[in-house]
């Protein structure tokens, strides 16, 4: 399974849908997309990982890199993830404290709206 990336904007939030495997081979494409979105002025990103089959530390590095970029613009990068196998790697690395992780896009949008 390769990596499929898609994105669309809803109000002030850019939702990035990720499907497939994020590893050392595919992560550069996600990195490029996040950089491109930030360069185009999208500073509030929500990465939907519900269709991600595999995530390794290279992928984590890309997400942390994206977070650093949006924070430089007072933005946010949050995640939608309920899969235990993916959440586990966030827990092992302590990154659950770094990212807002939501159970659904709707839940994340509500939380995002409250912060406005």
């Amino acid at each position: 399974m390769d990596l499929k990336l898609d994105h669309h904007s809803e109000d002030n939030l850019t939702i990035v849908d990720v499907e497939g495997e994020i590893d050392v081979y595919t992560a550069p494409r996600l990195r490029e997309l996040l950089i491109d979105l930030v360069n185009k002025g999208n500073f509030h990103l929500l990465v939907n990982m519900e269709k991600v089959d595999f995530l390794d530390s290279t992928g984590l590095g890309v997400l942390v890199g994206g977070l650093k970029r949006v924070r430089a613009h007072d933005g946010s990068l949050e995640l939608v993830c309920t899969q235990e196998r993916i959440l586990k790697i966030f827990r092992i690395t302590g990154l659950t404290k770094v990212f807002g992780i939501y159970a659904s896009v709707e839940e994340a949008k509500e939380a995002h709206g409250r912060d406005k």
Binding site: E21, D23, V24, Y25, F54, D56, S57, T58, L60, G61, V64, L67, K68, R85, K88, I89, I92, T93, G94, L95, K97, V98
Partner: protein, 142 residues
């Protein structure tokens, strides 16, 4: 004891193949189904690290994996040929802030996943040996 050896050119695209082979052999060796995700991720991390090290230091040299069914344990050894410093896991800062430096995160993940891990850095390369419990006679259905 049965061994499968795999060598591959240090290209990111081959890491997925290595993961798939390791997971298939782990399953056949009798590693519990719920541990297979951990095997897949840990072996992927070790291979990713090796590939990155080779691309920096010796892109022409292959990365090597040994997968062994050894008396009720499934053991994987990933060996690279790139000179390595002693890489220490560098996790979140004490206050839980963002990670300033991602280097070493792969090894930290492996340490969190594998049942037993031994990381041996050296001037001629690094060896990461990790293992998980397996059923003593492998899978009965073959």
């Amino acid at each position: 004891m049965a061994t499968v050896e795999l060598t591959f050119t240090a290209l990111p695209a081959h890491v997925r193949t290595a993961r798939l082979v390791a997971t298939a052999i782990a399953r056949r060796t009798g590693v519990a189904e719920e541990l297979l995700d951990e095997v897949r991720l840990a072996v992927g991390e070790a291979c990713s690290r090796a590939v990155e090290a080779h691309r920096l230091h010796c892109p022409a040299e292959p990365v090597r994996i040994d997968l062994r069914d050894d008396g009720g344990r499934f053991e994987v050894t990933v060996t690279d040929s790139a000179p390595s410093e002693d890489v220490k896991p560098d996790l979140t800062e004490p206050n839980g802030g963002a990670i300033p430096e991602m280097a070493g995160l792969g090894i930290a993940v492996i340490a969190g996943l594998a049942d037993e891990v031994e990381v041996s850095p050296g001037p001629k390369g690094m060896r990461i040996r990790m293992s998980w419990p397996a059923s003593p006679n492998g899978l009965t259905v073959v």
